[in-house]
């Protein structure tokens, strides 16, 4: 905190119109790609899902950089830690929930067979 007087403001980069426009154009392109892939069809469902996922991640990063001005050089370290912590929670909560429930489904789904076999295994 003692070093804070060296920077003129809390946020050293002052945003510019060009910065926002660059972010807007990039975000628009990264939106048009997944929407186009869904609208045009032709690709396999799996391929389109990969396109949707990848463009979403890149676009989130683009908006963090150009709109929220997150920057590994200038943003306060504590803020980056909080962001990293949030990302870890995203992975744990969404990934973990899907993992647990798909595992549960895999064990429950062949209900007829599995229920019959259970007593034998025990």
């Amino acid at each position: 905190m003692s070093a804070s007087h060296t920077s003129p403001t809390a946020n050293p980069q002052s945003p510019t119109y060009t910065g926002y426009l660059t972010g807007y154009v990039l975000a628009a392109v990264l939106s048009v790609i997944p929407f186009g892939a869904v609208m045009l069809g032709g690709l396999s469902t799996h391929a389109v899902m990969v396109i949707i996922g990848l463009t979403a991640l890149i676009q989130a990063a683009v908006q963090l950089k150009y709109f929220l001005h997150i920057d590994f050089k200038h943003s306060p370290k504590e803020n980056l830690f909080a962001l990293a912590f949030a990302v870890v929670l995203v992975v744990l909560m969404i990934g973990g929930s899907l993992w647990i429930v798909s595992d549960l489904n895999a064990r429950m789904m062949p209900a007829m067979g599995a229920n019959m076999e259970m007593p034998q295994e025990l």
Binding site: M1, S4, H5, S7, T9, A10, N11, S14, P15, T16, Y17, Y20, L21, G23, Y24, A27, A28, S31, P34, F35, V38, M39, T45, V48, M49, I52, G53, T55, A56, Q59, A60, Q63, L64, F67, L68, P76, E78, N79, A82, L83, F85, A86, L89, V90, M93, I94, G96, S97, L98, V101
Partner: protein
């Protein structure tokens, strides 16, 4: 004791207070950022719920029956453009150009209000055709996630009005502009959550 008291009492009147103010601004910015991150985590829980329940339509309408491509595209364009022009408004006020600041702010409000209007219309149409939250696990999770986002957009719109009131009452002081920066960060965060909503809810649903 008295030596500890003086530095605290001094900054209120002393001329060399900018370092103190910056420290305070930094702390406030950090605190606000922590709030934004915790709000994002709230959405993560709702996304996880939707991911788990999205196939459980319980004989009711499925995702591909109720999601519309053009509506989703229009909503995405509205929110992205709104976040851009709110950024422009902030630059306008920071440069002392009140006309640009208020003009872009009005545009951001109008685009956001249009988004909320379209979403309310969508929800009403869904409920009218029997796709209400109590129909299935899929629809409960859908309404919980998308309506929480819509509620955030609505709160952002109310915040814009209070921001305008602050600007008119107090003028574009450092304190008021800091409020505007937090509003913009909130609005941008909502925009990022929307990327998740169309990528996890709408596009995969239409694709099915």
């Amino acid at each position: 004791m008295s030596s500890a008291m003086t530095p605290e009492a001094q900054p209120i009147t002393a001329p060399h207070t900018s370092a103190h103010l910056e420290d305070r601004a930094r702390t406030e910015q950090m605190g606000y950022w922590l709030y934004l991150m915790s709000d994002a985590i709230l959405f993560v829980a709702l996304f996880a719920t939707y991911a788990v329940l999205h196939a459980n339509s319980a004989g009711g309408p499925e995702a591909s029956d109720i999601f519309e491509f053009s509506r989703t595209a229009l909503n995405s364009a509205l929110l992205l453009t709104s976040t851009l022009v709110l950024g422009f408004s902030g630059i306008g006020f920071a440069k002392g150009n009140k006309g640009a600041g208020f003009g872009w702010l009005a545009a951001a409000f109008a685009l956001g209000a249009l988004f909320v209007g379209l979403e309310v219309q969508e929800f009403a149409a869904l409920v009218a055709q029997g796709a209400s939250p109590q129909t299935s696990g899929f629809l409960s999770a859908y309404f919980a996630l998308v309506a929480t986002h819509g509620l955030h957009v609505t709160v952002g719109l109310i915040w814009m009005l209070t921001y305008v009131a602050l600007l008119l009452y107090e003028g574009p002081t450092r304190r008021v502009l800091a409020n505007g920066n937090r509003l913009a960060a909130f609005w941008h965060m909502i925009g990022i959550v929307w990327i998740g909503i169309y990528s996890v809810v709408y596009l995969p649903g239409i694709l099915q």
